[in-house]
Symmetry: none
DNA sequence: TGCAACGGCA
DNA sequence: TGCCGTTGCA
């Protein structure tokens, strides 16, 4: 059987809120390693990969590898019924057709359990190559979200250009154009505000803002986001979940990079 | 060229938010005097006149008079991308077809520039006669906004009647009628709450609440509003922008003044 | 479905 | 007083 206890149950709710708009149904893979999910979004353009390591849970038991197919929307609905400070326990039998979510309020005054039916879902598990990226930008997640949202009022795509000093987000649309430049900088007092650029060589790639805005739904999970890019490869937008794992989004670049690269 | 720097960039955003619902497209007139706009609303019923003096800017340069035609909606969209504490710089070439808005975050960590295409807009510049008004009421802008909003749930028009002691706002509709009377009073400790009436002779005029409610969008610009009236002349609803200028709205009275004047 | 105003909390 | 979370509207 599978049983996992998470004191910060709210984490799983945030995870579901950050995935359910992109993916309808998906398999959660439970193993002794942890609790993971990998899925393409409904339009088969972007890929989500989420992983919570077993040692991040307060209790974790998984006798046999288990693949639980769920409707992310319905699972999110159930997790909305959890109190903000509730402790979450998930349980599933090896041959069962459902998963149970138990919520315990901090003082045990209220205990709820919700059972969600499982579904059979075909899933192609894609191998994600472990790439050395040309450039990685670590920046405040809220700032990244804000930039993507702002630029979507002007255009549909964004050119992300990384140089060693900073990262520039640019777009063009009917009403005009926009550039937002964020400079690399550290602040010892406020590490959550730092912008760190780790660059082997400059990269500039164009992406559909629509997807980046969906990825930014994960902002509540971490106050920093890591954006990794290499020429002609999908960008990785990763939010680390402290002491537990991460959620990462992959999105292939648009082709017109070079054309736009010279724009101002 | 034209270049103007405003530390409180948020002021311009508030100005646009207060105009964009009334006017689609308009010309901003830049001159050594300052940055101004005058336009009729789309239904040609009311008039907006906004003026920011050059000395209110932190830097102001305008080599030649320039008339920049913009879509207020698009300009407002761009200004929404500005951070609340950002410093704003506007730039336009004399013969250019665009204006650039640059936003600098307080610590220069983030610099954005947005380019907005200019448009050719016919504008009849109306002369606004410098009238001595029969009565001027200065009152808290939030209170004026609240009264107009409240009265519009009852009726479509408001009779504003000024006597030396106070100002009465009255309306009538299908479900009943309403009067709100605000008394003149000063409070040395809280000047922003004072109601000052400067009256040569009593005035009572009727206006469409719909427009007053639009004017009240300027409430965030100032905590006081000045309402000036003379018999049979358009009312002026003016919000002062500290150390910089003002935005004023003009609206002609309805004709049925005398009929309603006796109403209670 | 996404944004804006409002109210509650820190 | 400022920020966040929620709710209501477009």
């Amino acid at each position: 059987m599978f049983e996992a206890r998470l004191t910060q149950g709210v984490l799983l709710r945030k995870l579901l809120d950050s995935m359910k708009d992109l993916v309808q149904d998906a398999n959660f893979d439970c193993s002794s390693t942890g609790f993971a999910l990998q899925a393409m979004d409904s339009s088969h353009v972007s890929l989500i990969h989420m992983q919570l390591r077993s040692d991040g849970f307060d209790h974790f038991r998984c006798d046999r590898n288990l693949s639980m197919g769920v409707s992310l929307n319905n699972m999110a609905k159930i997790l909305k019924c959890m109190g903000n400070d509730d402790v979450l326990t998930m349980k599933a039998e090896d041959q069962g057709d459902s998963v149970t979510f138990m919520f315990e309020s901090a003082n045990q005054e209220r205990i709820s359990d919700f059972e969600l039916k499982l579904m059979d879902i075909d899933s192609e598990q894609l191998g994600i190559p472990d790439t050395d990226y040309s450039a990685t930008v670590k920046m405040p997640s809220a700032e990244f979200a804000r930039i993507c949202k702002d630029l979507s009022t002007i255009g549909d795509t964004v050119l992300i250009a990384v140089t060693k000093d900073g990262v520039r987000f640019s777009t063009t649309g009917d009403i005009g154009s926009a550039n937002v430049t964020v400079r690399s900088h550290s602040n010892v007092d406020k590490p959550e505000e730092q912008v760190v650029i780790d660059m082997q060589e400059p990269v500039a790639l164009t992406f559909a803002l629509r997807y980046l805005n969906s990825f930014a739904k994960a902002t509540p999970l971490s106050n920093q986001v890591m954006i990794s890019m290499s020429k002609e490869l999908p960008v990785v937008v990763q939010y680390r979940i402290e002491d537990m794992g991460h959620i990462s989004y992959y999105l292939a670049p648009k082709i017109e990079d070079e054309e736009m690269e010279g724009d101002e």
